[in-house]
């Protein structure tokens, strides 16, 4: 009955990595935008607005997407999608912000547009991961709250660590793009590792169907 311990740990670990990475990208966002829009409060306002908006959309979509035939492969796809959506930030970030800088005098709307262009899509994909993780872990209605609570505990601890590690240490040793490549690799490896578990999950899904 239920998932193997290793499966649960795997999903929890991925949720942790996702929480870590979201905050890493968010914090780097401030540094990525500063050369074009300055270091004022509205730049942080734009970044946080876009992240919150993207996460809320991601939660909605991720939850919706988890209804039909949830499986590890689709779950892994969300990680790989997140990784791929980070690439425009790395390759075209400067070009995008230059374009916005030339067309918008007001740095408030400039930074809001810049943050949307760079962070909206990858963060939506990252936001889809949390509800999908819950769906994969939940076995019974009675424990659904506990499962969801524990998952949010783990991923939010990840976010806390991602915030402090990035701002205290990572920026002191690495270039922004190096850190973004590390996040890209993390998502890619996470996605591949869980996709390879396809069979084991399918089994437990089938069992769950039978138990019903």
């Amino acid at each position: 009955m239920g998932h193997s311990l290793s499966f649960r740990l795997h999903v929890l670990f991925l949720a942790f990595c996702c929480g870590f990475s979201i905050m890493t990208v968010e914090l780097l966002g401030g540094k990525i935008m500063a050369p074009y829009f300055g270091g004022s409060i509205y730049v942080w306002g734009s970044i946080i607005t876009v992240f919150m908006l993207a996460l809320s959309i991601g939660y909605l979509l991720g939850g919706r997407w988890s209804i039909n035939r949830p499986n590890n492969f689709k779950y892994g796809f969300l990680f790989i999608l997140s990784a791929l959506l980070l690439l425009p930030m790395i390759f075209f970030g400067e070009a995008i912000m230059n374009l916005i800088f030339e067309h918008f005098e007001d740095p408030r709307y400039g930074s809001l547009l810049g943050a949307s262009g760079l962070f909206l899509l990858p963060t939506i994909a990252m936001g889809m991961i949390a509800p999908y993780s819950v769906r994969l872990l939940v076995l019974s209605t009675a424990h659904s709250g506990q499962t969801a609570g524990f998952l949010y505990f783990v991923s939010t601890i990840g976010s806390a660590l991602g915030t402090i590690m990035t701002s205290f240490f990572l920026v002191l040793y690495f270039e922004i793009n190096t850190i973004l490549w590390a996040v890209f690799a993390t998502f890619l490896i996470a996605g591949l590792s869980i996709s390879l578990r396809q069979s084991s999950l399918q089994n437990s899904m089938d069992k769950a169907e039978v138990e019903k």
Binding site: K31, A34, P35, Y36, F37, G38, G39, S40, I41, F101, E102, E105, P107, F168, V171, L172, F174, E175, I176, N177
Partner: protein, 299 residues
């Protein structure tokens, strides 16, 4: 022995009581807590980032209002010794505005634009430090990085750019990178110069020196270890005038600078081209700019 110790202690406490600061005004701005403090004959603008010994931005000696109270502000005048006739000056970081005021008096034909991000600082400079705008003394309420980028698009150019945006406790990191300095260089006139008031202690010194070197080539370094300040004097064309030439300018300017408390001899003594940082020193870029963390690591 003992009696003299007591006497000096007594004198010291008397001296301290004379120096006790009276807070005239205090406010929270968008960026920091600012207070205006009266200390003996000085009126000062203080950014209250900490309780003990907070960083003073500007002081104005009310008995001699022309005098530039801080030695680093006086040292910025090294730029004038180097380039005595600048027509277009850009000051990044307004503080109390005493520097642009002094420059507008010294150079009656020069246009002086100051860039300041904090509207409260601009207001307090006008209210307490006699900062006055005119058709040639202009203030832009903007982030300096944005101002410089826009100035480049508008093809503006300046003969002298004064970088004084680092308040001692917090460095806007995007104003201390190779890319920023390249943008600054792009709005310098062919004979234009930059003087930056920055740091001479902590790990940051080597990083920053290497960054200036990478953009401007050799530069004059005016260090003042006692206050942890130094002035970087760099040129758009990468060539440095000889010290003899600067001395000649200094002689001609000495009288005019005296009322401002600027002693040209003291400034001349500090001009140096020694490269006292490693050749392979990593530079600060938009990708790598942990200036505040580096400043925290003392050598």
């Amino acid at each position: 022995m003992r009696a003299s110790t007591w006497t000096s202690l007594l004198l010291l406490s008397l001296f301290n009581s004379l120096l006790v600061a009276k807070v005239v005004h205090t406010e929270k701005s968008l960026y920091r807590n600012i207070s205006i403090v009266k200390e003996a004959k000085n009126l000062c603008m203080v950014f209250e980032t900490r309780k003990e010994n907070p960083p003073y931005q500007t002081c104005r000696d009310e008995t001699q209002p022309k005098r530039l109270v801080f030695s680093y502000t006086q040292m910025i005048m090294s730029g004038l010794l180097y380039h005595p006739q600048p027509d277009n000056i850009l000051v990044i970081g307004l503080g109390g505005g005493t520097l642009p005021m002094a420059l507008s008096e010294l150079l009656p034909n020069a246009a002086i634009t100051s860039v300041e991000i904090d509207p409260a600082v601009i207001r307090l400079a006008k209210e307490y430090f006699a900062y006055k705008e005119s058709d040639r003394v202009i203030t832009a309420e903007k982030d300096a990085r944005l101002f410089v980028k826009r100035a480049a698009i508008k093809k503006q150019s300046f003969d002298w750019i004064i970088l004084d945006a680092y308040n001692g406790d917090y460095i806007p990191e995007h104003l201390m990178t190779q890319e920023f300095l390249q943008e600054v260089k792009a709005i310098l006139a062919p004979e234009g110069i930059v003087t930056a008031n920055t740091f001479s202690v902590s790990q940051l010194y080597a990083y920053e020196s290497a960054t200036y070197q990478s953009v401007f080539g050799d530069f004059y370094n005016l260090k003042q270890r006692s206050t942890g300040n130094r002035i970087v004097l760099a040129t758009a064309n990468g060539e440095l005038k000889s010290l003899e030439k600067i001395e000649q300018n200094a002689e001609q300017l000495a009288e005019r600078l005296r009322p401002y408390g600027v002693r040209t001899g003291r400034i001349l003594n500090r001009f140096s081209t020694d490269k006292d940082w490693p050749d392979d020193q990593r530079v600060l870029t938009d990708q790598f700019s942990p200036a505040n963390l580096l400043k925290f690591d003392r050598e």
